[in-house]
């Protein structure tokens, strides 16, 4: 598999990281990713990532659950095998509300978690590289992807000038465990110009 080159810089404070992300983008570097130990609100916007559509997926799963419950119970109790429960109508929708609700929630929750795992490519036994082990502890790691035009020394000095520490070059094999490089551009709203 192809090996790609990354320039990585760590940040110890998110208040340094935010302006750095803006400056890096303005300077035209391509941010591969920023790895953080906890969610930082607004960082996705600063990086130019588009909003996630996971909510929409959840809604669709929920509706599927509702439809499944209504459809199945209606079929089972009014068409397939009618049973007279105390003279009540076969189609007794109010009595089905609890199960319809539960299945809506169940489908939405299970569907969303599976979709989340699929989109992030998370599963047991998956091994991924995130450049710095401390980025799940107390450092924020920014990885820049090198293109043909990238001048290594310039990028390193630029990273250092905007507050990054432990700046270095890392080579990683590209593959699904590193994130999906093939659709990389889809993750950004606009194609980020790569220069230097």
């Amino acid at each position: 598999m192809a090996v790609k080159k990354f320039i990585t810089g760590s940040f110890y404070d998110e208040e340094v990281l935010f302006p750095a992300v803006k400056k890096i983008r303005r300077a035209g570097y391509k941010i591969h990713d920023v790895f953080t130990p906890f969610p930082i609100h607004g960082l996705d916007k600063a990086m130019g990532l588009r909003d996630t559509s996971l909510h929409t997926a959840g809604f669709i799963y929920g509706i599927t659950g509702t439809a499944t419950a209504v459809g199945f119970i209606t079929w089972a109790l009014t068409i397939d095998w009618q049973i007279n429960f105390g003279g009540k109508p076969f189609f007794s929708l109010p009595a089905w509300i609890p199960i319809i609700f539960e299945l809506t929630v169940l489908f939405a929750a299970v569907g969303m978690v599976l979709t989340f795992c699929y989109l992030c490519q998370l599963a047991p036994f998956v091994k991924k590289d995130h450049f710095n082990l401390r980025s799940t502890d107390d450092t924020f790691l920014m990885a820049l992807e090198c293109t043909d035009k990238t001048i290594e020394a310039d990028a390193i000095s630029f990273l250092e000038s905007i507050g990054a520490v432990e700046v270095g070059v890392q080579y990683k094999e590209t593959g699904w465990w590193l994130g999906r490089y093939d659709n990389d551009k889809k993750r950004f709203e606009k194609n980020v110009e790569t220069a230097h």
């Binding site: 960082l43 996705d44 299970v110």
Partner: protein
Amino acid sequence: MSLLRYESQVRPALVEGGKDYHQVTEDICRPVEAKPSKLWWIGFLISVALLIFGIISVTVEVIYGTGQWNLNKTIGWGWDITNFVWWVGIGHAGTLISAILLLFRQGWRTGVNRAAEAMTIFAVMCAGQFPIWHMGRVWNAFFVLPYPNTRGPLWVNFNSPLLWDVFAISTYFTVSLLFWYSGLLPDLATLRDRAKKKWRKMFYGVAAFGWTGSTKHWQRHEALSLVLAGLSTPLVLSVHTIVSFDFATSVVPGWHTTIFPPYFVAGAVFSGFAMVQTLLVITRKVLGLQEYITIEHINVMNKVIVLTGSIVGIAYLTELFMAWYSAVPYENFAFFENRLNLNSPYGWSYWIMMGCNVLSPQIFWFKKMRTNLTVTFFMSILVNIGMWFERFVIIVTSVYRDYLPSAWSTYYTPTIWEIGFYLGTFGLFFTCYFLFSKFFPVIAIAEIKHILKRSGENYKENMGVIDKESVDQFAAEQLHDHH
């Protein structure tokens, strides 16, 4: 200090001791990475012993049938369903803390949500045992599922609250598990990246699903947590509502009341918070996490206890009023003879319930009591006893003497196997909890870091300056306006 993170000085710090990000990781990972203490082993072994006793009790019941329990002609549910409702109720506090308080943006939930969610899952596991083994011929338990069968196919009765329960409890368990585990992923990754031993790297490597902390992943993770919280909130209300329907849709005096759903939900949150207190007062001490589960956390939870306890108290009084106001002799008999009358066979259980649930939590109106750990622990046990008796009162005192005196049952006391089964679920619950507290971080590391710069003690101190400035400015403006 960025003003964006400003939090009023009126709110006490949620993380004490001047922590930075790395120290948070260290503190919370320490109990997981250290060898278990002697106290842990003692607790764990007692739990396993109880679990084994429970397994024996259930085995006896399966071999010889439910006749091994002292259930009789009118008391068909007895201890078994009492325990079921009790355990389900306990689970509710975990979801309340993790989901409802997330929607309300309550910062203090971060210190306690992980342990509370774990408690939910274990409590629901325990609860599930009771209706399953109560079936007697447990090998036919799958009959409750709507699957194509050779008996028609004869479908399950979708109009029955007992079937609603099957769906509610199983959905609740699944969703709670997913919510809990998706929240655990980042913290398991932290443990994986810190691991030095090979088996640790393997175990947490597998468990963390390859989490990296990528910004895109965090964005999706936040979206997922929020929607799961939004789903869990009505779900948790629905679960105990449906449990209450098991009673409320019947025509038994004492059960047939419309007040049951909100009354059950409030009671569930009440007992759940008591169990959270029981667990956390010990956990914070044994694992040395007093700086993360602070006295303030205990204080806030005690406020919830006094609130929900009082709601439950109002529900009890409303029931009594409605029984009197309805002028139905059977209702009157159920409430004023079977329950309220201390000299009736089960009158004592009603007064234990009243004393533990309504009277005793009132001491939490005093801050001194709310912030006293011994009182809190003692009270949490009392509330759990009281809430167990609430379910016992509802189940037993309603049916042992209802309409026809000729159908009144004899006095019901549990057999050793009924008690053993109940103790066994304690074994299951605490075995799970001990394993959880050994192998998983009991506090959500990432979430604590997220609130650290807003609610950490050292960061809050700096905000005092802003507070002082704004007060001065406000005073100046006021003076200016008056002149």
